[in-house]
Each structure stands twice: as structure tokens, then as C-alpha cells.
């Protein structure tokens, strides 16, 4: 397939690996931010190609994984009401809440509809005028513009039975929080290419300077990732710490301006709790006051009941890159995709699910 196969070419991959081997002289830990990158790394088993000096730490870039359990409970409570339809991306359905997940609510007769595009939830709203349609708005800067556009469109069309449960989170504050935590062993960062497609990479320049960490904007195909690793290692070996864009076929420095304008129009930045990590300052979006009537939390006056996570689950440490999924005592026995204890075992972008699905053969 054009523009895909070129980035999965074995000869080119071997060349890149050789280049990495040539520049590397010592051990480096690199964090790939996005769960999509984690999956590519495991799907193509890239670690088998890389020199042993490189260890890849899997970052928190899985929106499903970092959505706080309290939000899942809120979604469950909305979906259980007779007068509502919850529209959600498919991934969220199996994420365990404190008591149950959305799939169980659906099996119990609750109305949960899977949407592929946020705009589809407006169609559902128009077809079901007697019901309240709530879009479970999760995701990073990548999905947020489409949700912003949906809210603007709902306002323009005067759709009154539509709202969103907003749980959007932002990547750069999380990176900063990880680097600041003191537990971090991160030498270099592969930034999430799709987030940068929307937001550009100007925000990363001060982070790179402050923590003296090279940040390479990286794509998702195996060659993209090897390319990102090569440039991060090269910078580290040369003692540099710059922001480099190695996903230039999709990313511009300033990002996608119309998308950023939509975000700015609809959302304001707030402090947000990340599942497994905790509260990160200025790391999430909420609806601006002018769009408050689309805020499901206000419409349904949902209470936030703090809940405890499973004692066995180390999702927080996995999301911060401190532990690998396989270091969890529950991995693969108590916690499997059919019976996940933590969100990283559910999502197609979760590190635990990737380790489980693409696990290596035990020699």
C-alpha cells in the first residue's frame, strides 16, 4: 500500500539499525510517548533489531488508559439512565470502572453506541429527539479538535439533547510531570507524531531545554520509529538536546492552525487527574463557559466519588515508564484482555495489551 509499505521495508530497517549501531557507544533509555508507537514497536518486535544499549520505556500516551476511573463511573452512571444514550469510542467499553464497565451496562439494557467519529453522535441525537445523547469525549490533542467541531456544530444546529462528558488530556504537561518526578530514567523522548500534527512542536522546545533532553517528533511506522531512535541517540551521543521533527510528512512546527483555533474556541485548560499518575497541573480540557450547556457533568450533576484501584494493578508505574507490564504479578494471569484489572490491558494503545498480544516466544 502506497505511503505505508515504504515505511515497513526490511532492507531500509536494517540500514537504519546499522546506523544506530554505528553511533551508539553507551546505554540510553528512550521513552516513546504514544501508545500507537508502543504497539508498533511490539507488533514489529523492533527491540529484537535494536542494540542492547537502547531500552525503550513506554509512555503514558494511551488516552483510554489515563482516563480516571471516576470518569468511567460517570459514563456508567449516564449510560444506565433510561433517558440517555452514551456515545463512545469502542475502546472505552471494556475499561473497568470501580464497579462495572460499559459493556456490562450495555448487556444490562443500558444504551451505549459505538461511534467512530464524534460527529456521528449528532446524527444519533437528531434521530433520538426524546433522549439525551452524551458523547464520552476522551483523547489527547488528536481527538479533541473533532469533539470541538462537534460541539460548535451542535450549537450552530441548535441541537438541545446533546452534551459531552469531557475527559480530554494534554501531552506536554504530562511529559514535563514525568521528567520532573525525580523517578524518571528518561534520556530522550520520541514525541507523538499525531499530537504534533495538530499542535506543532513549539511547546516542546522549553521542555527540552529545561530538562536537557532531546525530543524527536516521531511517526508510527517501524521505519519512522527507527528513524526517531537514530536521531535521539545521535543527539545524546553528541551531547545535544534539541527538538527535531522527523515526521515532517505530517508535522509542521506551528501545527494545524484551524484545528488549534477550534480547540481554543471551545475548551479551556484545567488541572486534570490522570489514571495511575495523579493530578497534573494544566493538563486537560474543559468546555468554556459559553459552551457550558453542552457539559454533561453539569446537566446530570454527577458526583465524583473517589475510588481505589485494584491492589494488584501497577498501571500507574507502567504509564510512567517505571515498570514494564511483564513486571506486574497480575500480568497474563489475573489480568488479561478479557478480564482487565487496569486500563492498559484494554486499549489498543495500552502497553499491557501490546505486551500480551505481541508477547515474545519464551525460549
Amino acid at each position: 500500500m502506497k505511503f505505508i509499505d515504504e515505511y515497513r521495508d526490511s532492507a531500509a530497517a536494517k540500514n537504519l539499525v546499522e546506523s544506530i549501531k554505528k553511533v551508539i557507544t553507551q546505554s540510553w533509555s528512550l521513552m516513546e510517548i504514544c501508545g500507537g508507537q508502543t504497539h508498533s514497536i511490539l507488533k514489529y518486535n523492533l527491540e529484537d533489531l535494536l542494540p542492547k544499549e537502547i531500552s525503550l520505556i513506554h509512555g503514558p500516551g494511551c488516552p483510554v488508559c489515563v482516563t480516571p476511573v471516576e470518569f468511567i463511573d460517570k459514563a456508567v452512571s449516564i449510560a444506565s439512565r433510561e433517558d440517555t444514550i452514551l456515545a463512545s469510542f469502542g475502546d472505552m467499553l471494556r475499561v473497568p470502572g470501580s464497579k462495572e464497565d460499559l459493556l456490562s451496562v450495555k448487556a444490562d439494557g443500558g444504551c451505549v453506541k459505538i461511534v467512530y467519529s464524534p460527529l456521528d453522535s449528532l446524527k444519533i441525537a437528531e434521530l433520538n429527539s426524546g433522549k439525551n445523547i452524551v458523547l464520552f469525549a476522551v483523547g489527547f490533542e488528536t481527538t479533541a479538535p473533532a469533539v470541538a467541531m462537534t460541539v460548535i456544530e451542535a450549537k450552530r444546529r441548535g441541537i438541545k439533547n446533546f452534551s459531552i462528558l469531557c475527559s480530554h488530556v494534554l501531552v506536554p504537561p504530562a511529559i514535563e510531570a514525568l521528567l520532573n518526578s525525580g523517578r524518571s530514567m528518561i534520556n530522550g523522548i520520541l514525541a507523538a507524531g499525531h499530537v504534533c500534527t495538530v499542535m506543532g512542536y513549539e511547546e516542546y522546545i522549553p521542555i527540552s531545554k529545561k530538562f536537557k533532553v532531546p525530543i524527536v517528533v516521531t511517526g508510527f511506522e517501524p521505519l519512522d520509529i527507527l528513524h526517531g531512535i537514530y536521531h535521539a541517540v545521535k543527539q545524546l551521543e553528541e551531547g545535544k538536546y534539541e527538538v527535531q521533527n522527523k515526521y515532517s510528512r505530517a508535522v509542521r512546527k506551528e501545527g494545524n492552525l484551524p484545528a488549534k483555533n477550534l480547540l481554543n474556541e471551545v475548551f479551556e485548560v484545567v488541572d486534570r487527574k490522570w489514571r495511575g499518575i495523579g493530578l497534573i497541573r494544566e493538563s486537560g480540557y474543559k468546555l468554556r463557559e459559553v459552551y457550558a450547556k453542552f457539559d454533561a457533568e453539569k446537566i446530570f450533576s454527577l458526583e465524583e466519588i473517589p475510588v481505589e484501584e485494584s491492589r494488584h494493578c501497577i498501571a500507574g508505574l507502567v504509564l510512567q515508564g517505571i515498570k514494564k507490564p511483564t513486571e506486574c504479578s497480575a500480568f497474563g494471569n489475573l489480568c488479561i484482555p478479557e478480564n482487565p484489572l487496569g486500563a492498559p490491558m484494554v486499549s489498543t494503545e495500552g502497553a499491557c495489551a501490546a505486551y500480551f498480544k505481541y508477547r515474545k516466544v519464551i525460549a
Binding site: 500500500m1 505505508i4 509499505d5 515497513r8 521495508d9 526490511s10 530497517a13 536494517k14 511490539l42 507488533k43 514489529y44 518486535n45 523492533l46 529484537d48 533489531l49 471494556r94 459493556l103 456490562s104 448487556a107 444490562d108 453506541k113 461511534v115 467512530y116 456521528d120 446524527k123 517501524p222 488479561i336 484482555p337 478479557e338 478480564n339 489498543t348 500480551f356 498480544k357 505481541y358 508477547r359 515474545k360 516466544v361
Partner: protein
């Protein structure tokens, strides 16, 4: 008369037998994923159904039950079709119900003879649509040379079914000398597939409400009995066959690897996938190896015969793009490995949960 101790013991035994063997920590109700052909489906079969009906024929756990009457070997199978939408690019629930059951018979090595057809119809279903389905089933039967010899119709209240569900059962005769089973797979066997994968699942998806996208992809639904016959004509060394329907190629290969305790290595580069399907999968985040087929079969053939079988398959309409995609290995018994396009190896797991509900 029973004394108290033995009464308690008996009573406990009964209680034990009645308690559900799937632990409470799992779901306590049926989810769509229990019908998805992946691990939850297997749990339902292995923990709830097989142990209760256990017998030597059922325990074959294959596409059809194989048994002998008066020295002749027969295959018997049944399947229910609940596909949504009822009409989709390349076929409809009727052609699917006929072809699916024919294929379950022929991958067991049987020549399909007779089918039954039962309809559960929702009140209000358009007669014209029902007629289209009947004609489509007639056409599929004629194409495959198979007769429907018995059936049933039931109508349920509006809202108590979804348009129409069809069950078909089929019986076929297995010629002497033919013995198809995962247990026959041998080290070094080549693994053959008869063409491009994932077309049925993607065609269904493209017609789904809320996700309509314009594509030329059509379901591959087809009866494979004449193709299989051709294969048997040129080789007596076909060891195992399966049709990779729900759960796709990866789930089928995993089932075979588990049942036969063989290792399987397939080459990603060799697996035929059309550009359109690749594109749709990239956009929707699916892996074609997990997507359903309705006109595909995977065959395990001894290395000496593999090329001859492939060449013969290529002469048939449903086998033009037949190709060897992998082989049986000594390493990692019970496991399927894939050599990725960039040359590394990893495990190719069974589908977990549901990728697409109600595709057949």
C-alpha cells in the same frame, strides 16, 4: 434410606454440578464478545458446553462432527446466521447461510449432500426481502450442487428479533481414504490459503449503519466444495483444512496449533490482502488477520504435494490467488508465529474479545 452424611454429600454434589464453572470474577452475563469467535467464545464452549455434552464425536471439536454408519463416514454440521445488515456487498444472509454450512462440511473432507434451513423472522420483515433471500439461497444451492431437504419457519414479535436469523445444518459423505484433522498436521507441512483475506468482514463493515464508507470491497462468500474436490483429486496428503471465518486467519491457525500441538510460522509478506482492504484496515485500526472470511480455506499439505495442490487450486475460480503462507515448525508447539515485513518474528495471538460483532 440415605443417612444424613451421604445425603449432604449427594446434595453438595448436585450443588457443585449446578454452579457455573466460569468464575464470578469474569462477566456474569452473556456479552456480544462471547459470540465473537475469540477467547470468550472458547471459554463458553470449553467450560459450559463441551463438558456437559461430552462424547467421542463432540470431542473432535472440529467444523463438522465426523461419524460412521454402516461403514460409511459422514460429516454433520450446523450454523446460525445473524449477520447485520441482511444484504451486503457481495451477498446476503441467505447465500451466507448456504455457503457457510457447505464450507464447514467440505473443510472436514466431506462432499456436501443435503442441508436443512430454519428461519426466525421478525414480524414486519418485508416479504420482498424474504423472497430475495430465498432466491439467493436457491442460487447458492444450485451453484454448489446441494439440496435443501427440510426446514422450519418461526415468526417472533416485532422487536424480539432483528429482521431475520437463519440456521442451516448440513450432512456430507466422506470418501474412503480421506482423513482431515488438525491432529494429522505434520512437521514441515506447508500452509496454503486460496486468496485474499478479510474481504467479508470489511464488506459488512462498509455497509453498517453509522460507518457507511464507499468501497469496491465485496464479501468473498462462496461455496468451496468444488475447489476442495479438485485438491483431493491431485493429492492424498492434505492433512488438515479449516475455513477462517469469525476471528479470521489468526484465530483459525491458533486453534489448529493448539489442537495439534504443532508450531506454525507464517510470513506476513505472503499473506494476500487487497489494497482496498489494507486501506480500510489502516483507517479503522483493524488487523486483516483477525477479520472474517466466508469463502476462504486454509489447508495443511505435505511439502511434496504443496506446489501441485496450489497449481490445481489456481485453475479454480475460488482459488486463483492461492498461495503458500507458512509452514509447520518444530519450535514453540501450540503457538503461531509471524515473520513481520521487516524480518522480525513475534507471536500471532488468537482474537481476544470482539473485533466486529454479528458478521455472519
Amino acid at each position: 434410606m440415605l443417612d444424613k452424611a451421604s445425603f449432604m454429600k449427594n446434595n453438595n454434589d448436585t450443588e457443585l454440578n449446578l454452579s457455573c464453572p466460569i468464575p464470578k470474577s469474569d462477566y456474569d452475563k452473556i456479552l456480544l464478545a462471547h459470540g465473537g469467535g475469540g477467547t470468550l467464545s472458547h471459554q463458553l464452549l470449553n467450560k459450559l458446553i463441551f463438558p456437559q455434552f461430552d462424547n467421542e464425536i463432540l470431542s473432535q471439536h472440529s467444523d463438522s462432527a465426523v461419524f460412521s454408519i454402516d461403514g460409511k463416514k459422514y460429516a454433520f454440521t450446523t450454523d446460525s446466521y445473524v449477520v447485520q445488515p441482511v444484504f451486503f456487498p457481495g451477498g446476503d444472509i441467505g447465500s451466507l447461510a448456504v455457503n457457510g454450512t457447505i464450507n464447514d462440511l467440505c473443510v472436514s473432507g466431506a462432499e456436501p449432500l443435503y442441508l436443512s434451513a430454519s428461519f426466525i423472522i421478525e414480524e414486519g420483515f418485508l416479504l420482498e426481502d424474504f423472497w430475495r433471500i430465498i432466491l439467493s439461497m436457491k442460487k447458492s444451492c444450485e451453484k454448489a450442487g446441494v439440496k435443501i431437504i427440510t426446514g422450519d419457519t418461526k415468526v417472533v414479535d416485532k422487536g424480539k428479533g432483528d429482521k431475520i436469523f437463519i440456521n442451516t445444518s448440513g450432512i456430507g459423505l466422506i470418501e474412503e481414504g480421506i482423513n482431515i484433522s488438525p491432529k494429522n498436521c505434520r512437521l514441515g507441512d506447508f500452509i496454503i490459503i486460496n486468496g485474499r483475506i478479510a474481504e467479508h468482514g470489511i464488506a459488512i463493515l462498509s455497509a453498517r449503519e453509522g460507518l457507511e464508507f464507499s468501497t469496491t470491497i465485496k464479501s468473498d462468500t462462496a461455496p468451496l466444495n468444488s475447489l476442495v474436490k479438485k485438491m483431493f483429486n491431485v493429492s492424498k496428503n492434505i492433512h488438515c483444512m479449516r475455513d477462517p471465518t469469525r476471528g479470521g486467519v489468526s484465530s483459525t491457525l491458533n486453534e489448529i496449533a493448539l489442537e495439534s500441538q504443532i508450531g506454525i510460522l507464517i510470513e506476513e509478506e505472503k499473506i494476500p490482502v487487497s489494497e482496498e482492504v489494507k486501506g480500510a484496515c489502516e483507517i479503522l485500526g483493524f488487523d486483516p488477520l483477525y477479520i472474517a472470511n466466508e469463502g476462504k480455506m486454509i489447508a495443511f499439505v505435505s511439502p511434496s504435494d504443496a506446489e501441485r495442490v496450489v497449481n490445481e487450486m489456481k485453475k479454480h475460480d475460488y482459488g486463483k490467488e492461492s498461495v503458500i503462507i507458512g509452514r509447520v515448525t518444530e519450535e514453540n508447539p501450540g503457538t503461531v508465529l509471524i515473520r513481520t515485513k521487516i524480518g522480525t518474528k513475534r507471536v500471532l495471538d488468537m482474537l481476544s474479545g470482539e473485533q466486529l460483532p454479528r458478521i455472519c
